[in-house]
Amino acid sequence: MRAYLNGNEAVATAVRLARAEVVAAYPITPQSTIVEKIAEYIADGSMAADYIRVESEHAALAACYGAAVTGTRVFTATSSQGLAYMFEMLHYVSGCRVPLVMAVTNRGLAAPWTIWADHQDAIACRDTGWIQLYVETAQEALDTCLQAYKIAAHPEVLTPVMVCLDGYVLSHTEEIVDVPDQEAVDVFLPPYRPEYAVDPARPIVFGIGAGPELYPAFKHYQHQAMLRAREIIEDVDREFAALFGRSYGGLVDPYYCDGAEVVLVLMGATAGTAREVVDDLRRRGEQVGLLRLRSFRPFPVAALRSVLAGTKVVAVLDRDCSFGYEGVLATEIKAALQGANVPGTPEVAGFTGGLGGSDIRPEDLAGIFRRCLEAVRRRDRGESPAVSGGCSENGKAEGINLWLS
């Protein structure tokens, strides 16, 4: 069935189709309409679930954890301050290997107060042990939520998943979405019945303590599972494609990267704008491409290396900032390529922009490509190739909305 849905409605639809049984959430813009929609589904009888009206996000995740260990499929969603407020529980849930799924409608963090999109909220949770998948469209938001339940609960993964969608640009913008049939989803996602669940007939502890002789083993297994998730994410994407006819490339989504001299790496909905810019530059004969990173954690080092190894300059656009250094993605891409040990490793130019909902316009991305292509030309002439210059092509104050790290 085709429907006109925004990103948040697409997520809510996926949660209904996944037959989530317990939902606990706390309102925050721009996430709220996800859980409002779910509350509506429950009220109109189209979804059989318990909605726990918790008093905070910390409690939302604690309640989801409590419900999940009884062996039920659960869901929560948040943004920004709410995600930050959950921080303690994020580690706890992943450490307990509880396969929760949470939608994060990305929004910047205060101060200053903002309700608009950037990725700082989720990026700041990089090391909480959650899988983080970033989507480009409402359709992908729906499909990725379904995939997320499958990935999280895979016995070799057992790791919670955040499905990250840009606030407003995705969450509140409608597009035509193909809504899968319930029967097909039921085949893809059978009921969640974990091996271990709360059961007085078989008493076990969830969330144990561990001394120095055992703690590292738990963390090692958690790390191994996250690494293994790289394959599972790809498998699940393939399986999804076979059933529903849509694929997102699993970990990375390359666009015209073959033979590209300059590739722009980014996450989220900005990819839509970037595709247009790439098309335009390609028409003019420039060898440019786009690599949309879908899985931020686990970090797809091998996939990134294989796509980026032959390029001359890699531009990275971060919608986040590690203050006092640079965008987090830029650092990670540099590290990934450094480790590749390939002669002629491309230069990585990190740009930070789109913070707190500031627009990333086609001309901004074109400016990034132009600057990187100039560096390629310098390199071809045997000159120092470094990407340089002020970044702002958008007519606003130089370097304020978009800057080179």
Binding site: V22, I52, A59, C64, A68, P203, G209, A210
Partner: protein, 273 residues
């Protein structure tokens, strides 16, 4: 009323690392005799968690869901909803938290869960300080008590604020059942646990649970102190039921000194100048 002689002999708490004379573990052990094996424990960082569930130890013979310090009651709501979804509504869900995990950092979650009306029992074992982290004061520390964050010195005279009236706080939520108890009066305590168990909706029991190292007394005095606290009027045995508060009268109250003098945490109050 619970008959002590009829309580099951088998233990649902066994092999904990609690100190000798720990009032907290006694409170839990006794409560589980009433609650029985069809119970799920939800608990939080505290001495209780520290002495019962360090891998591969499991000192409970019932399932135990440990959660973060502020979250006991929030996780309870999740467990209750999950069990209902799985058709296991008959299983009792009991939250066990220390005074810190109840009256301080856990208060918001507890307020939320009571307000939602979930069916659960919350037992706060009150040892009147943060014991697990080294006897820091909590909102439940009585005035005058010396703790590591209310030390006694030239300017400090121990805790300088009254003990938080948690029973009034839960009563203000129109909770169906709430009570205070003392491990020194097991019949009274366990009857209250039984009532809590039979209550539809949230029920709260706060049980005084003396702590030898935290209060500064030798471990054979735990029960004696738990009784003296009641007999000297320091710890009223109260019940809030159907919107009415009743407090058990102490027929012949004993002098407060008898209670204070046995504990190092109050020694400075009695020292002669």
């Amino acid at each position: 009323m619970v008959k002590l002689k009829e309580l099951p002999g088998n233990e649902l708490v066994q092999g904990s690392y609690a100190c000798a004379g720990c009032g907290g573990i006694l409170a839990v052990r006794m409560a589980l005799k009433v609650l029985g094996p069809e119970t799920v424990i939800v608990t939080t960082p505290s001495c209780l968690l520290g002495v019962t569930t360090f891998y591969p130890q499991l000192a409970f013979k019932v399932p135990c869901v440990n959660v973060t310090f502020p979250s006991t009651a929030a996780a309870i709501s999740g467990v209750v909803a999950g069990l209902r979804r799985r058709g296991k509504s008959g299983v009792k869900v009991v939250g066990l938290a220390g005074d810190g995990g109840t009256v301080d950092i856990g208060l918001q979650a507890l307020s939320g869960a009571i307000e939602r009306g979930d069916n659960f029992i919350f037992i706060c074992y009150d040892n009147e300080a943060y014991m697990n982290t080294g006897v820091q004061r909590s909102g439940s520390t009585p005035p005058g008590a010396r703790t590591t964050t209310t030390p006694v010195g030239r300017a400090g005279r121990g805790e300088d604020r009254p003990k938080k009236d948690m029973l009034a706080i839960v009563a203000a939520h129109n909770i169906p059942y709430a009570a205070t108890a003392s491990i020194g009066y097991p019949q009274d305590y366990l009857t209250k646990v039984q009532k809590a168990m039979e209550t539809e909706g949230p029920a709260y029991v706060q049980v005084l649970a003396p702590c030898p190292p935290g209060w500064g007394y030798s471990s054979h005095l735990t029960v004696k102190l738990a009784r003296l606290a009641v007999q000297t009027g320091q710890w009223p045995l109260a019940e809030y039921e159907g919107g009415r508060l009743t407090v058990k009268e102490v027929a012949n109250p004993r002098p407060l000194n008898e209670y204070l003098a046995l504990q190092a945490r109050f020694a400075h109050l009695l020292a002669s100048k």
